[in-house]
Amino acid sequence: MKLTAEVAGQEHALELQREGASVVAEVDGRRYELEAREVEPGSYLLHAAGRVYECRVRRTDGAAGASEVHVGQQVFQITLVDPKRLRHMQSAGAQTGGRAAVVAAMPGKVVRVLVAVGAQVEAGAALLVVEAMKMQNELKSSKDGTVVELQAATGATVNAGDVLAVVE
C-alpha cells in the first residue's frame, strides 16, 4: 500500500506491508521492520529494532484521513492521502477561490447570529457566537464579501466542522 502523509506542511511518501503483527514500512525511503499491536483502542505499540513507540491516534474532525498522533510528549497532525484516488484533502474552513466557509471549531450551541444573508462584511467581522463549556467563541469572516449562506439559528447545536456560513 502506498500513501502520502502530510505533516506540518511537508509531504512524506509511505509504503506499508504487513503480515500478522509484522509490518515493513518505508517513509521517504527510510525502511523500518516493525511489530505493531493495537494494545488499546487507537493505541498502537510499535517495536522497531528494540525501540518502543506507543502511538496514540485520534481521528480528528474535519477532513477525511486526518489524525492527531501522540508519541511520548510529541504531537503530530497527520493527513493521509491515497495518491491513487487523486483526491486532495483540504482543511475545512479554507478559502476556495472566492468563497470562504465559516466552520464551527468546536461542538456547541449557537448563542447569537450577528449577520443576515446578504450582509456586507469585512475580513475579521464576527458573524456568529458559539458557546461551549462556559466559553463563547466568535466566528469571524476570513475575507471581505457578502454573506451568501447562513446555516445556523440561535439555539441550534452544532458539531465541530459544520459549515455555519459562507462569505463570497
Binding site: 500500500m1 504487513r18 503483527a21 514500512a25 487507537g42 493505541s43 513507540y53 502511538c55 450551541k109 467563541n137
Partner: protein, 508 residues
C-alpha cells in the same frame, strides 16, 4: 455526624466529595442533569436524582429542586462543591430554611466577601494590607494625575464595573497617564456601558498567592499555609503549588496571620481561601479577595499538610472542632497540581468536548489524580471543561517536578484534546523549573515555546512512527489485534470489533 449528604455538583469535585463521604461512612446522594445520567459521580453514589435538562440553569442551578430532593431523600446536609451554587448566599439560606445544614460558611460571611468593595474595606479594617488606591471613580484627568502622584507610579487603571481585564491599563509613568485614562474609559464604556475608572498602585511582577484557612464553630481559626497560583490563562489558574517556590517561613507566617484576621472579621466557618497579590520584586503582599468555598487547587495543600480539607469541611459543619491546631500544622515537601482541561492548548485553549475513548491515569509514588471521567464517558459541551486534577508530591520542588514530568508523560486521554501537551512543555521550561512565576508567565512561555517548537519536531523517527500508526489506524485491516493474533486476511473493522466483543464474552 451526618448519615446522608447531598452533593449539589457534578464532575470531579462531586467525585471528590463522594470519596470523603465514603471515608466518613456517610451515604452520598448525587444529583444530575439529563446529560449526566451515566456520569462518574452518579456511578459512585448510593442514590442519584435527576434535576432537569442539561443546561445548568435548568439543573445544577435549580435551588428549589435541589432542596426539594434533599428533603425528600432524607439528606441532613448539602455540600455545594465549587462553582454552580457554592458562593450563592441565597442557596445557603434556602438550605438552612429547609432545616438542612449547608456545608460552607454562614451566609453573612459569603455576602460580605461576595462584594469586592465590602471585602476590601473589611480586610483593611481588620488590619490586612490592601493595594493602595481608591475604588472611587476618577472625576477627571486632573483628579487622575493627583491620585497617581499620591500613590506613586507605576499605577493601574481599572474599570469600576469591571472584571476580565477589560478597561484595565498599566501606567508606568506620568507621561502615559492621559492617553491610558482615555483608552481605559472608552474600553470600560464599550464593555460594561459604564466609563468609570479608578486607580490602584500597580504591583510589580505580581504573583498570585493564596492562604488556605479553616475555622470551626468553636472559635478556632487555623491557616494551612499558601498556594502559588500565578500560572493563569483567561484569569483562571492552570498550575498551582504548595508551598510557593518563594517558600519563606516568615512570609508564610505574616500572610497566614493576615488571612486569619480577615477570616475572623467575617466570622468565617469551614474552609476558605484568602487571595493575595505578592510583588515578586518587593515581596509586599496585598489582599485581593476571599473565596468562601473549597478551591480547585485544594489537593496540593492536602498533600503537603496531610489534612483532608473536605473531610474537615464535613466534620466542622456537623459541629465538631477542627481536628488540628495551628501548632499541629506542618508542611512536608512540595506539591504541584495541573488542571487537565478538555481544551486545545494549540488553539487558544478552545473547548474540546467529546467522548473519551481511552484513559490511562498515571499511578505510582507521589501521584494523585482527582478525576471525574472514565473511558467511554462523554465530556459535555454544557459544563466547565475540567476533567481531572493531577497533583504530585516530592520531598523538594525538584523531586516534585521530576514526578510531574513523569506523570504527565504517562497520562493518556484518547478521543478528545486536553491541556496535557501544554503541561508537558511547561514542566520542561527553564523559567518554570527555576520557579520564576508571575501572572505574565503564559504569554512569555508561549514565545519561548514557539522558538523551541522546531527543534522538537525534528525528531524524524518519532514522526515516521506517528505516520505509520496513523496509516494502521486508517486502514484497520493493517493492524493486529491487541492480543497479537493477527487476522490472516484483510477483515473489516466491523468484524474485528465483533471478534473482540466475542472474546470478552458478550455474544452468546
Amino acid at each position: 455526624m451526618f448519615r446522608k449528604i447531598l452533593i449539589a455538583n457534578r464532575g470531579e469535585i462531586a467525585v471528590r466529595i463522594i470519596r470523603a463521604c465514603r471515608e466518613l461512612q456517610i451515604a452520598p446522594v448525587a444529583v444530575y442533569s439529563e446529560a449526566d445520567a451515566a456520569a462518574l459521580h452518579v456511578r459512585l453514589a448510593d442514590e442519584a436524582y435527576l434535576l432537569g435538562p442539561a443546561p445548568s440553569v435548568e439543573s445544577y442551578l435549580r435551588i428549589d429542586r435541589i432542596v426539594e430532593v434533599a428533603q425528600a431523600c432524607g439528606a441532613e446536609a448539602i455540600h455545594p462543591g465549587y462553582g454552580f451554587l457554592a458562593e450563592n448566599a441565597a442557596f445557603a439560606r434556602a438550605v438552612a430554611d429547609a432545616g438542612l445544614t449547608f456545608i460552607g460558611p454562614p451566609p453573612a460571611a459569603m455576602e460580605l466577601m461576595g462584594s469586592k468593595t465590602n471585602a476590601r474595606r473589611a480586610a483593611a479594617r481588620a488590619g490586612a494590607p490592601v493595594v493602595p488606591g481608591t475604588t472611587e471613580p476618577l472625576q477627571s484627568i486632573a483628579d487622575a494625575r493627583a491620585t497617581a502622584a499620591q500613590l506613586g507610579y507605576p499605577v493601574m487603571l481599572k474599570a469600576a464595573a469591571g472584571g476580565g481585564g477589560k478597561g484595565m491599563r498599566f501606567v508606568a509613568e506620568a507621561d502615559e497617564l492621559a492617553s491610558a485614562f482615555t483608552t481605559a474609559q472608552s474600553e470600560a464604556a464599550a464593555a460594561f456601558g459604564d466609563a468609570d475608572v479608578y486607580l490602584e498602585k500597580a504591583v510589580a511582577r505580581p504573583r498570585h498567592i493564596e492562604i488556605q484557612v479553616c475555622a470551626d464553630t468553636h472559635g478556632n481559626y487555623v491557616h494551612l499555609g499558601e498556594r502559588e497560583c500565578s500560572i493563569q490563562r483567561r484569569h483562571q489558574k492552570v498550575i498551582e503549588e504548595c508551598p510557593s517556590p518563594i517558600d519563606e517561613a516568615d512570609l508564610r507566617a505574616r500572610m497566614g496571620a493576615a488571612a486569619l484576621k480577615i477570616a475572623r472579621a467575617a466570622d468565617y466557618v469551614g474552609a476558605g481561601t484568602v487571595e493575595f497579590l505578592v510583588s515578586d520584586v518587593t515581596r509586599e503582599f496585598y489582599f485581593l479577595e476571599m473565596n468562601t468555598r473549597l478551591q480547585v487547587e485544594h489537593p496540593v495543600t492536602e498533600m503537603v499538610t496531610g489534612i483532608d480539607l473536605v473531610r474537615e469541611q464535613i466534620t466542622v459543619a456537623a459541629g465538631a472542632p477542627l481536628s488540628f491546631t495551628q501548632a499541629d500544622v506542618a508542611w512536608r515537601g512540595h506539591a504541584i497540581e495541573c488542571r487537565v482541561y478538555a481544551e486545545d492548548p494549540d488553539n487558544n485553549f478552545m473547548p474540546s468536548p467529546g467522548r473519551i475513548t481511552t484513559l490511562r491515569v498515571p499511578q505510582g509514588p507521589g501521584v494523585r489524580d482527582d478525576g471525574g471521567v472514565y473511558a467511554g464517558a462523554e465530556v459535555s459541551i454544557y459544563y466547565d471543561p475540567l476533567i481531572s486534577k493531577l497533583a504530585v508530591w516530592g520531598r523538594t520542588r525538584a523531586e516534585a517536578l521530576d514526578r510531574l514530568r513523569r506523570a504527565l508523560d504517562e497520562y493518556a486521554v484518547g478521543g478528545i484534546k486536553t491541556t496535557l501537551p501544554f503541561f508537558r512543555a511547561v514542566v520542561r521550561d527553564e523559567e518554570f523549573i527555576a520557579g520564576r512565576l508571575d501572572t505574565g508567565f503564559i504569554p512569555r512561555f508561549n514565545e519561548r515555546h514557539a522558538a523551541h517548537a522546531n527543534e522538537i519536531e525534528s525528531d524524524a523517527r518519532a514522526r515516521d512512527m506517528a505516520i505509520i500508526a496513523a496509516a494502521l489506524a486508517h486502514t484497520p485491516s493493517m493492524a493486529a489485534t491487541h492480543d497479537g493474533t493477527a487476522a490472516q486476511s484483510p477483515v473489516s473493522r466491523w468484524r474485528s470489533a465483533g471478534r473482540v466483543a466475542q472474546q470478552r464474552g458478550y455474544t452468546g
